[in-house]
């Protein structure tokens, strides 16, 4: 039977020319999606000013934001990297547990409340960052603090 070897050519499509020297370097965040979505609210809590600044710059740059907002973009990345670094130094175990749980549960936050509660309390104790969902109704418990999660595979008390 004729053998047909797979041929991949994506790797030749990458332009690897480095950034020109007049643009300061910044290390990319390099975290995977589960870790990012686990840390999203803490990134949002600490870096809100930088994030808003960057988005405002992009909005007002009149279509040239990619080039003109590099400075703000670097600040955003550095701030997020600092959050990830702090979480890694102080709450690595809980962070890993939550990210693993998300990874195993289709990134559904409501499946991982137990890991999330311990992560959130650790981060609040060590870093002082708090998860708040803007715009949530004030007369009810925020959804991430409800012990029962209706849509989880085990909907009973989570912790």
């Amino acid at each position: 039977m004729a053998q047909r070897d797979p041929q991949f050519n994506q790797h030749v499509l990458v332009d690897t020319t480095p950034m020109p020297d007049h643009i300061p370097k910044v290390e990319e965040i390099g975290a995977t999606s589960a870790f990012l979505s686990s840390a999203a609210y803490f990134i949002g809590d600490r870096c809100k000013a930088f994030n808003d600044d960057f988005m405002k710059c992009k909005d007002e740059a009149n279509g040239r934001g990619e080039i003109e907002c590099l400075k703000e973009g670097r600040k955003v990345t550095r701030c997020a990297a600092s959050v990830i670094k702090d979480i890694n130094t102080h709450c690595l175990d809980q962070f890993k547990a939550h990210a693993d749980c998300l990874e195993n549960n289709n990134h559904y936050l409501f499946e991982c409340r137990k890991a999330e509660v311990s992560l959130n309390s650790c981060i609040f104790d060590k870093l002082g960052l708090k998860k708040t969902i803007p715009g949530a109704p004030e007369n009810q418990v925020p959804v991430h603090l409800r012990p029962k999660q209706k849509y989880a595979q085990y909907p009973g008390p989570q912790y």
């Binding site: 279509g63 040239r64 934001g65 973009g73 969902i133």
Partner: protein, 119 residues
Amino acid sequence: MPQDMPPTGGYAQVQYKRNLPARGFKPFYYMVGMHMIMAYGFYKYFHGVREQRELAREKMWGRLYLTPLLQAEEDRDQVRRYYADKAREKELLGSEQKVYNSDRFVRPTFAYTPSKVTQ
């Protein structure tokens, strides 16, 4: 000859009604029961929808907090390719020419493919 008369005491009743026992409850109670089951279902449904809405809000804000970070990374990559394209163009053509009659940043339609395997 005497006339043919009804029997004394009259004829027996003719049974024109069906004589079936009524089964089950009165229909009214079935309707009440149905409405109670429906009310319970709607109660659960509304609470479920409220929870879904909050979960969606949580997910959306999580993504919104990450958007600037992801966008900044993507923008840097685009700018890196843009400058690389410009340098290549200058090397090949000897001059820089604007392709578009606009100052806006345009994502290139065609990607440069290096002749050598780069990665």
